[in-house]
């Protein structure tokens, strides 16, 4: 132990004249982190003005598009006349597409619940704060686990012949493998892919699958939910 800290304590009785205080005076070495101080701007007027200008430009653009793009209006609702196919709004067509392949409890209840729960827990399960790339260390074991996960997904969706889940999944597995085996110099794409952590791979795969499902559900599904070319 080094020398005993010397300190003084003092306080006054008149709070206005002599504000109450406790002072510790210590003698020690402490670490000081020096980061470059980022430049700051006052919100008023810098942020407020920018937001107002952005709002005006955006609203004008919106009105111009709305002038030329009519909202659809079909015949009066008729419970006795079911259109074929009956489609949900576009942002739910990915789910409807899944519903075509999987049992309703899985596609309509289990998967959406898992997606929402998964999104909520992202910040609390982010164990890889530094963003260590997936293929940086422990390569063999990670490759085995990764490929195991891909195999399970492919089996589950392959059995149900959900091609629009299988295709993006295979594409992502191929990219991950390419990043694994690519030489250290590699091209720009490979260098980018090799730098990505596991969370990037999962989220990007999720976006690719939901985009594919939504696009197929929107443009390539006709009567009886059969595959059609929407432009024919």
């Amino acid at each position: 132990m080094s020398e005993k800290n010397s300190y003084e304590v003092g306080f006054g009785s008149d709070a206005v004249k002599n504000p109450q205080r406790i002072v510790f005076i210590t003698k020690k070495t402490s670490a000081k982190v020096k980061g470059a101080q980022p430049r700051q701007l006052m919100s008023y007027p810098h942020v407020v003005l920018r937001e107002i200008i952005a709002f005006e430009i955006f609203t004008v653009a919106l009105v111009v598009v709305a002038l030329f793009w009519d909202a659809p209006l079909e015949q009066l609702a008729n419970p006795l006349l079911t259109p074929n196919p009956a489609k949900a709004p576009w942002y739910f067509l990915g789910l409807q597409e899944l519903l075509h392949y999987l049992p309703p409890v899985v596609a309509g209840v289990l998967i959406p619940t898992l997606v929402v729960v998964g999104l909520v827990v992202i910040p609390y399960f982010d164990v890889n704060i530094k963003g260590e790339p997936l293929w940086a260390s422990n390569r063999r074991r990670r490759l085995a686990a990764f490929m195991g996960g891909v195999a399970v997904l492919l089996i589950v969706f392959g059995i149900h012949e959900a091609f629009d889940v299988v295709v993006p999944t295979v594409a992502f597995a191929a990219l991950a493998l390419a990043a694994y085996f690519a030489p250290p110099q590699g091209g720009r794409l490979m260098r980018y892919l090799r730098a990505q952590p596991l969370s990037w791979w999962i989220m990007s795969w999720f976006i690719a699958v939901s985009l594919t499902l939504t696009l197929v559900g929107t443009f390539f599904r006709g009567p009886g939910w059969s595959l059609v070319w929407s432009w024919r």
């Binding site: 980061g35 609702a77 209840v109 989220m203």
Partner: protein, 276 residues
């Protein structure tokens, strides 16, 4: 006799007693009065008085959160105007749509704008979420604001979905039929939830009224509340995230310094007393 310029005129206006009583400040010329302009204002006080210059660059955020909020404003305004012409009853709803097209001045534009803004908002909110994810904006201390954002995403989807039924045409009716049938598959509570939402077993008059109330009252109020929390938390959690990749580029040096006297003061210090 020279007339005052626009700046001089504004300066005089801002120095009047009425202006000061409304805005709680005179002209915002110093950093102190500029800060006052933010936290002396109920609507602006949720945003920080100072922001990092980096977080204002277009590439940092693409202003996606702002655009989502702008869309919410546009939707509120056009939505209230549409409410003036709309009856949430099965027979009238559809003819109100026809009236909007053929009778009401600019009715077509009003409905187009509302519909376009609703679809765009779903897109922008998704894009905003993915952008925040890839920038690492959900990391501590911003975890909870990410959760609030997920709630806002769900509210956006429900708002858009409940609005989908209101025109009461074939498109609306069957889209809602497809969607609400799924709720029935939820184990145990599925059928009861569906009954509660539709006010019956099939989509009819009751369902239209309930979707109308959800769309025009309950969900917008909830969304407004969560938007306020979302904005306020940006400030409390240390401003907009400038992204991990940019933060890493910042030079960071740790140096050990011999501190002669490290003073910890508890209670009111002299500087604070002077400020008051």
């Amino acid at each position: 006799m020279a007339y005052p310029s626009r700046e001089q005129w504004l300066e005089r206006l801002r120095n009047t007693r009425v202006w000061k009583s409304v805005f709680r400040r005179g002209p915002a010329r110093t950093n102190r009065t500029r800060s006052l302009a933010i936290f002396g204002n109920l609507f602006l006080h949720v945003v920080p008085a100072k922001v990092r210059e980096k977080s204002l660059r277009v590439r940092a955020t693409y202003y996606l959160g702002s655009f989502a909020f702008f869309l919410f404003i546009v939707l509120t305004v056009t939505g209230i105007l549409l409410m003036l012409y709309y009856h949430p009853a099965a027979l009238e709803a559809y003819s109100d749509m026809k009236d909007l097209r053929f009778v009401v001045s600019n009715g077509v534009l009003l409905r187009n704008l509302h519909r376009l803004a609703a679809q765009t908002m779903v897109l922008v909110v998704f894009w905003h979420m993915y952008h925040v994810f890839y920038r690492g904006g959900y990391r501590p201390p911003r975890e909870f604001n990410w959760v609030v954002g997920v709630v806002l995403l769900l509210l956006t989807l429900f708002l858009s979905y409940t609005g989908y039924l209101l025109p009461w045409d074939q498109l609306a009716f069957w889209a809602i039929t497809v969607g609400t049938n799924i709720i029935g598959y939820v184990p145990l509570v599925g059928h009861r939830t569906r009954f509660l939402l539709l006010g019956g077993n099939i989509i009819g008059e009751n369902a239209l009224l309930r979707f109308y109330v959800l769309h025009c009252v309950i969900l917008p109020l909830l969304a407004g509340l969560f938007i306020a929390v979302h904005f306020w938390r940006i400030q409390k959690d240390g401003g907009l995230s400038v992204g991990e990749s940019e933060e890493r580029k910042e030079p960071l040096s740790v140096e050990a310094t011999q501190v002669e006297q490290e003073t910890v003061t508890v209670g009111e210090s002299d500087e604070r007393k002077e400020q008051l």
